[in-house]
Amino acid sequence: MLLQLALTGLKRRFKDYLVLFSGLIVASMVFYMFLALAVNPSFYRHNITIGAAYLSFIFGFGIVILSIITFIYLIYANSFLLSMRQHDYGMFLILGAKRGRISLLVILETVITGLLATCSGIILGLGFTGLVGKLLIGQLDLEIHHFQAFVPQAVLWTFVFFLVVFCLSALWNVQKLFRSRLLELLQEKQKPVKINQHPLWQIFEAIIGLVLLAIAYAAMNSLGSLLFISFFVGFFGVLLGSYFLFHSFFSVLITALLKRRSFAYRRLRLFTLGQLKFRLPAYTRILTMTSVLFALALGAITVGGRFHSMQREFSKSSYYAMLVTQHEPATKHQLAKLHAPVMPIYHYKVTPKGRYLNRAEFRRQPLRGIRFQPQNSQYHDSQYHAYTYPLREVTRLSGQPGYLLNQLVHSTGTTKMLSSSRYRRIRGKERWLQLIHVPDLVKDYQTIKQLAKLEAKAQPASKDLLTLFGLTNYQAGLGLTSGFQFMGLFLGIAFLTMLASTLMFKVLSAASDDRLRYRMLIKIGTREQLLKRSIHVELASLFILPAVLGMVDVLVGLNMFKSLITRPWQGIWLPFLLFAMLYAGYYVLTVKLYERSVLN
């Protein structure tokens, strides 16, 4: 009988269970994804060549943060589970079930729901880790080694963490059930909405929130002097500051708007503001988490993206990307694929006395080099200027092209540059080499890589010389930054998934209660269009507020990465834009699901 009742309850609130279950799955999936990197030391030993100690600290700290966030999320999800089942438990008690039996049911339900979600989350996490990893490595041409989707320790730790939290939650649910009176269980839904605390206390809280944020931002700005303390002060300051801000500051703001009759007495604004006023304090924890997750996700993607643009800088550090000394069909085929290349061919003759170049050739197609001009500003890349190499310098060993030529010709003795007539008179075998410059090495990377392979195969002797070109510089840069870039983007995507699911979960879990309000508004003649607009504004506020706070967190927090990356704010609009598009996608999805839930 009890089982039948339990199943009926599940069927009745299938949509709510679906929301709860998908929320839990995403939480465990993200937790696994993070651990798959964090507890895989061979990954960062092989991919991170700078700041490894710094990184293991960041990961340690990351695990603590993610555990706190996941813990809060799970506690919230469990109280949602209990609120869904409370009425049914009350019914079981009326039917004569003993409290001990009900407790067992609560524990079993909570733990089984948790375990099912965790296992599904880990399996999805495995797949998602593999997919995201493959996509990132493939799409961004990252030089990543020892990355694996299946990390046994990560599976174990995710499982243990979730099991422990679900057991604790189950015990918490049981003791709450024991403390509640039967009538309270049956009438849980009819509990009135709590009215906000005293306005003065709200203003006080709002000020505390602002002060805490200011302290946190100052700490993040002083990584140099405070070292790791600034992480703790920064993180917890942001966490508490955001909490107070959401708990009070925005409520104060909305109360002020509600008092402005000329603003509030228009169409459904009263209702929208009323919804927000009561939502914000109830959403405090979730909005705080969202803003922190937003900051973490956006920060990770920004830092990852910044490493990516640093790779571009590496690609600009040499003028010539590659050289070829043969025109075999395969090489010709690859050369034809290059985008707007400059490919001068230089001839030379080698005799026992030395090597000879044709001056006319160098006049016609001058050798070019790159001059590096560092920038002092935090907001611009260093400038790489191409310049024409002076003719008299070509044969000197010190200059880049001269050194290159000397190496290429690989003979002893002097190098001489002769007029065309004198050059023609030199007896010796003439050879040639072709230098390749492309405006965008990143774009032609695959083709250049192929050319290098073909050249090394055709001329094994000159294999080492190939390392003198732009391709090698760029590949070195890739190796140096790929690990960070991969981690940044990977974790950013993981955090973004969790962030969206957290907010969506909270909004949708309240939908069944909100449905009544919308029904009432429909009854008194509110147009559907107006209701939809109210929903859009209300949910947009819930999405935008933590986003704005999260963005400020990121802009300030990037200070902490100054030691790892140059000019962390440069080109920041790109990751912000990409992130905004993804975030907007989640907003639209949540709005559509919510509308279907409350208006149909």
Binding site: S262, I524, G525
Partner: protein, 249 residues
Amino acid sequence: MTNILKVDQVTKTYGKKHEQQYQALKGVNFSVAAGEFVAIMGASGSGKTTLLNLLSTLDQPTTGHILINGQDLSSLRAKQMADFRSQSIGFIFQDFNLLENLTNRQNIALPLTLRGISTNRIDPLIDELADKLDIKAILNKYPVAVSGGQKQRVAAARALIHRPAILLADEPTGALDSASAREMLDTMSLLNQRDHVTTLMVTHDPFSASFAKRILFIKDGKIGQEVNKGVKSRPAFYQELIAYLGTGE
């Protein structure tokens, strides 16, 4: 007198063709004149709620026509239907249906803001009606902080603030204690007599129904007997009702 409401041969059938169908209303006919206070009485399952849903434009009849203030409801589209509800109909529900996240004043203001009434005019209109309904002192409180009777008077204010053509009341005293119920019914009666508010109340309670001037009995989806109060006192009318119900007709 002009008819505010006219219900003409209305039927309502639930269930699709080729499935088992259930006819909740089987050709209902009646009308309510301007300034009348009519009660519709019936037991559970008699078709009361179905009829009220049709009158309030929340549902459409299978056949037949409903006219409110001369407007045939079947000719309205969804948008017009919503506008019509917000302009011509006032609702009082059994469980108040107040929005607990708005103060009582804001709850009452809603129908006016929906109609786009000038923001300066809203508060004076609320204050005037609150005076009549004796709820001025609780206007700035939230619904949760006032008694059931007061909540229902706030709901009445919200239903009447935009001067609708007809007030539809669905078991308005169902969630009230006897004293509050009495107060609410007196208020509705007063509004009808003094301000000529046309009222249609659906109820199963003879005491509530005795406050109306005319009672229509609905049974198995049809309007049966009709009882008029005439010049009788309310207690006498109530006794007559009890006697009528006692015969089981």
